[in-house]
Subunit: 350 residues, 2 copies
């Protein structure tokens, strides 16, 4: 069907014998069009292979059919250089595109700097250039209030991943506390009595919520809580390795460890190997995130799986709804998955 050149709305209008505006109304599912006319227009669109030009639509019109996905440059760089085993962008692409396609939207990925002043300037520039209907801010930018305000000031809908206020924004998150509980409960159910928690950072809200969940279960089951069994691993391999080594060498060592992210879980894995222990026999291990490497590790790890794709899909849906004039702000809590693999087993006394 080699469409000769570009088919425009005027071609369709001429073909059917109606005005441009009528065709436009059909395209936008406007209300006041006779069913018979609508059908004829739709048939013509189909036959001529007409596709609306997104740029033209945005010129006079208000919608741009574009959603901006903002990623952190540093994190992307790190993933690129050091190979953190993060599949965040993959997840975004899958979750976001699937949703966007349904509504005729497209996703533009942008990288902006972590440093707040730079981030502000870069975001400001890109929204002027592209004028998207909505912007998704991912961590750490979702924590940056200035960026959200900038968008709000420009009348651009904004979704934040990993936040939970939801006042005027589309916030998507998961129930971190429940995830902390789930991981701990799983280990308690397996008979573990000495469960350690390798936290990320005490400045990171989500980290604290998980820790709350962990403590709640210990409390609830009457398990021993020791100050030194909550370590801070700074989300880093090296720091986590040190903490893990200390635990493993102590007498009365923990028989299970929950790691706040995969990076630290791998640190534990390597430390265990170094000390000559085996997982899950000598130590049970649960990780958060469930990025790809986790499933291929030896042994594959039991993990909380963050619903990244679902969160982004939800963010897109919210933004698209907002851009059609309906308020969709609020906090959307997406369900996580708990995936039991081979790094956890029933605790045996021997």
């Amino acid at each position: 069907m080699g469409t000769k050149s570009t088919v425009t709305i005027r071609d369709v209008a001429a073909d059917v014998g109606v005005s441009r505006q009528t065709v436009s109304r059909v395209l936008n599912k406007g209300p006041n069009v006779k069913p018979a006319v609508r059908a004829k227009v739709e048939a013509s669109i189909e036959r001529l292979g007409y596709v609306p030009n997104i740029s033209a639509r945005r010129m006079r019109g208000s919608r741009s059919y574009l959603i901006l996905a903002i990623n952190d440059r540093q994190r992307t760089y790190d993933n690129w250089r050091a190979g953190r085993g993060n599949d965040w962008v993959d997840q975004m692409l899958f979750g976001g595109m699937t949703e966007c396609e349904k509504h005729g939207y497209h996703m533009v990925f942008e990288l902006i700097d972590t440093e707040p002043a730079k981030a502000h300037a870069q975001l400001s520039k890109v929204i002027s250039e592209l004028r998207p209907d909505g912007v998704i801010l991912t961590p750490p930018h979702s924590e940056n209030g200035d960026l959200a305000d900038l968008l709000k000031g420009q009348g651009i809908a904004c979704a934040r991943v990993g936040r939970r206020e939801g006042h005027g924004f589309v916030d998507v998150c998961m129930d971190e506390r429940a995830a902390g509980e789930q991981a701990t409960r799983h280990l308690a159910d397996l008979g573990h009595q000495r469960i350690a928690y390798l936290a990320g950072s005490s400045e990171y809200g989500n980290s604290l919520m998980r820790l709350d969940g962990y403590r709640a279960i210990l409390e609830n089951r009457g398990l021993e809580q020791r100050e030194e069994w909550v370590g801070e691993g700074a989300f880093s391999f090296d720091t986590a390795s040190k903490v893990a080594l200390q635990w493993l060498k102590s007498k009365d060592r923990p028989t299970a460890i929950i790691a706040d992210n995969d990076q630290m879980a791998f640190a534990v894995l390597h430390t265990v190997e170094r000390v000559g222990f085996r997982i899950p026999d000598d130590l049970a291990l649960v990780s958060f995130e469930d990025t790809p490497g986790v499933r291929l590790s030896v042994p594959p790890m039991t993990a909380i799986r963050q619903p990244t794709a679902a969160m982004i899909a939800q963010a897109c849906e919210g933004l698209i709804t907002e851009s059609s004039g309906i308020d969709a702000s609020g906090c959307y809590e997406m369900p996580f998955e708990f995936i039991e693999r081979d790094s956890t087993a029933r605790f045996s006394q021997d």
Copy 2:
């Protein structure tokens, strides 16, 4: 600097006391503008915080400042669902955006179906909507000649990742044969005499080139070549596991294995564990790709690292060059890296 509303080219023109067209010429670095005028316009742009509206530019103008990155839906889905440990998109984002930013371009990621007819229709639709300056086709779509022709027919520049013809297209690839040689040479240098090659698929050109490299080195070093030491793993975990198991149980078993992708390398890793051998003592292992999981495996794997980010950056550069009217077609071969980690060691006779 709360820019009140939208600053347009007319505002700048009025501010400087010059016509729109002159401002436009400055923006596009057109030739015939007096230096003094140019400086004044540039100062005004800076002061007013003017940013050109990409959509408006594309309406009458010819350039869109948009590059489309086409990804395979199935592969993205698989990565999402099964967690293949692929960081392809991450790499694309990093490599592509870095290059695009330099030239004021943006990247739009799209997912299209693997099935050729669907892929054609979907690509056709998206280029009509977005009218990008260039499109990057990634595997498997880079192998689909119809898609490239469709783009060519519409006058849209096209870059293909993993192809090497370069006739009218910007093809980017790496030297697969040299990579195959490198991996094999490394093992030979370590004293291995029985080196097996776990190939992906004999229908995949790049796979064959690596295999050529492997054979060339064996030949060159006078090492034994056995038919059964070249296995076909279909790029899949399960198939590769079977092949690996057979090799490991055979007497005169290979002492080193080269796996055509990470997925299969992991299969070998798991099989070795199952059989009770150890890497690298009982078997040396080299993988291609070097996706993130590989660096965190126990032990971390020696691998050929595909220059994904560099290839995408090169693709972007080529497309942007083309869109400014200069022919940039041809085949660009990007250098790969060889990263020695702990899965390979000197062969010991005992």
